[in-house]
């Protein structure tokens, strides 16, 4: 068993970064991810890592510097949130398109306007199509475990894509949680040495990155990138299994909580799953067949496995902590709807948008969702496909249960 410690999610991630000892980090501070780089700069100052750290003048520059460092052959990491990720957006596509295995700790926070510093998933969901692998953690332990696995996934020769590992702002990043750390050597051995392919500055073999690529080859390169994302499915599984052998912990594509015989279920990402589990326990104690499915991997979306996991459920609420205005629901909902399209057996699906800008999701709110699902299961009728909950206005029934 590893060492048991009490750390915030941010420090847990910074610890994983210290143990991996990357070559270069470039970052710009933003709440609530600031502490990751702050802690890491202490490690640099104390000589605990060999990393070159640069505090750039913006996130756009931070990701640009990360790309430059990766092109030069370095193992590169950064952290950001919200507007920081939004400002990196142009560069996220460059990192993925150039196939650099950069890893980024994304501490999820709402996007402006209006200004809000609290947790929701609109930042990383906005980067959904940037070509980055996305993994979501429920708590500090998982954020630590995921961070260690990201390098192995990103750097695998069948993948070579950047990886974003996400945790909820404040709830996970700032709350002190107890977790188990692996020892430094174990992490270093697990992460292994990074071998860059075709780095710049290899004077014998000069290379060009990012050159003009028009109608003749652009599509082939994009297809290759899409294939790499597909390949990452197997790599994510292999790495998760290997990590589990080492640590005794972790999930593969998703976590199932009482899903075996569940008739109704909630699907939810990250820290809110912890709250849902409490409600599931209470309802199970009363004999209700409720379950929870918490996806860990969002990109690539494990559609076969996730739709199988829901195939025996009668009614399911996909709960999104981000919205896609004008679509039929949040990004997670749309993903599940298309994943289940080919299934013969399909649950009735509804969507709840919750927790935007850090709005609390309380136990009675979750119970209300389960009760609605129970009615849907019994009557086959749905009131509305997608709605905001715990919000002032028509749906004010929430929170009063």
């Amino acid at each position: 068993m590893g060492k048991l410690v009490a750390l915030t999610g941010n420090i847990a991630v910074a610890t994983a970064m210290r143990q991996i000892n990357p070559d270069v980090c470039a970052a710009y501070p933003i709440t609530p991810s600031t502490q990751v780089m702050e802690q890491f700069s202490e490690y640099v100052a104390d000589g605990l890592v060999d990393t070159e750290l640069i505090a750039t003048e913006s996130e756009h520059s931070a990701m640009s510097a990360c790309i430059g460092a990766a092109a030069a052959g370095g193992r590169v990491m950064t952290a950001t949130s919200s507007q920081g990720l939004a400002l990196m957006w142009e560069m996220l596509y460059i990192a993925a398109g150039m196939r650099f295995p950069i890893t980024l700790a994304c501490v999820n926070r709402a996007l402006s306007a209006p200004i809000n510093i609290h947790g929701d998933h609109s930042d990383s969901m906005g980067a959904r199509d940037s070509g980055w692998i996305q993994i979501y953690a429920e708590n500090a332990q998982e954020a630590y475990d995921n961070q260690i696995q990201t390098v192995r996934i990103a750097e695998h020769m069948d993948v070579r894509l950047p990886v974003m590992s996400c945790m909820d702002g404040f709830i996970t990043s700032h709350a002190i949680d107890s977790l188990e750390l692996l020892d430094d050597k174990t992490v270093r051995d697990f992460a292994g040495e990074y071998k860059a392919t075709h780095p710049l500055l290899d004077v014998e073999h000069p290379v060009t990155y990012g050159a003009l690529d028009l109608q003749d080859y652009f599509m082939e390169h994009k297809r290759a990138q899409a294939e790499a994302m597909k390949n990452s499915r197997k790599v994510i599984l292999d790495v998760a299994r290997e990590y589990k052998k080492l640590s005794g912990r972790g999930f593969e594509y998703f976590e199932e909580y009482y899903m075996d015989d569940a008739e109704i279920a909630i699907v939810i990402l990250s820290s809110a799953a912890g709250t849902v589990k409490v409600v599931v326990d209470a309802m199970r104690a009363k004999g209700e067949k409720v379950g929870l499915l918490r996806p860990r991997v969002f990109r690539p979306f494990p559609y076969n496995e996730l739709s199988d996991a829901l195939s025996n459920v009668k009614a399911v609420a996909i709960m999104d902590r981000a919205d896609s205005h004008g679509a039929e629901g949040g990004p997670l909902f749309m993903e599940f709807k298309s994943a289940l399209y080919n299934n013969k057996k399909q649950p009735i699906m509804i969507n709840k948008i919750f927790g935007l800008g850090g709005r609390d999701l309380m136990l009675p709110d979750i119970e209300t969702v389960y009760r609605e699902l129970r009615d849907i299961k019994n009557t086959g009728k749905i009131r509305t496909v997608s709605e905001y909950i715990t919000v002032r206005g028509e749906e004010a029934a929430y929170g009063k249960a």
Binding site: Y28, P29, I30, T34, S41, A45, A55, E57, I115
Partner: protein, 248 residues
């Protein structure tokens, strides 16, 4: 805040979120004093700020039109405001990180095109809001959260930067004493073109505590000691912070 200036405030938004001893509160008073003394109609003014403690100086506190934007971009937003309605007096109030680090590009370009707006930089040589990281104005050797063993990067001299970019009015004052600062703000507000004031506004909570100035008063004493008016062409001695009007 003096009683006579309270009419410029949304009292329901008070008190400000500033820490005790923060220079930004004093700068806020100086700006309102200047508006009052210059006889400007606050209803014809728009205050644009970015993200940072300094961004809170006008928003939501000023009882006027305020546009609270994103980190680094208030000058670009303000450019739009001025173009859409040139009758308005457009004032940008934001921090050194906001205006000179992440938003430095907008600062030099607005000065270059002589955009008729006033930019007041509440310069505390640090990112206050995010907890005290080095900015592009942090002095060499200063301790910050990102430079725990001392800053090794040279800071910008914002007045030289903005002056060289073509601004028509460039000055630097500290929040102590307040009088010369108020006078400079009045001149800047009345200037017909791009005007810029680098206001030394201490952050005792982060910069002070990390740099052997434990109490806010230590920071004010330090500023009083080090800020000196320098004649044109004269070189300032080590440790002296040149204040005054550099371009007019």
């Amino acid at each position: 805040m003096p009683k006579g200036l309270q009419k410029y405030l949304r009292l329901q938004a008070m008190p400000t979120p500033f820490c005790p001893g923060c220079g930004h509160g004093m700068l806020m008073t100086a700006i309102l004093h200047a508006i009052d003394e210059a006889g400007l109609d606050i209803n014809n003014m728009v205050f644009v700020s970015g993200i940072g403690c300094a961004g809170w100086i006008p928003s939501p506190h000023f009882n006027a039109d305020t546009l609270h934007t994103t980190h680094g971009r208030p000058i670009a937003f303000a450019t739009g405001v001025k173009l859409a309605n040139p009758e308005l007096k457009v004032v940008v109030i934001s921090g050194d990180g906001d205006l000179a680090s992440i938003g430095g590009n907008h600062l030099i370009h607005a000065a270059r095109r002589d955009m008729p707006i006033t930019v007041i930089c509440a310069n505390n040589s640090i990112y206050g809001m995010t907890g005290g990281q080095a900015s592009s104005t942090t002095p060499i050797d200063a301790i910050s959260k990102t430079t725990p063993s001392g800053n090794i990067e040279r800071p910008f001299d914002l007045c030289r930067l903005v002056g060289a970019s073509g601004a028509g009015y460039v000055a630097r004052y500290s929040v102590v004493p307040l009088k010369p600062l108020i006078k400079s703000i009045i001149t800047a507000l009345n200037h017909n073109g791009f005007s810029f004031i680098d206001v030394l506004s201490p952050c005792p909570t982060y910069f002070g505590r990390m740099n052997k100035m434990k109490r806010p008063v230590d920071m004010f004493d330090d500023l009083k000691k080090r800020c000196k008016k320098i004649k044109k062409g004269e070189k300032s001695e080590e440790g002296v912070i040149p204040i005054g009007v550099f371009v007019e």
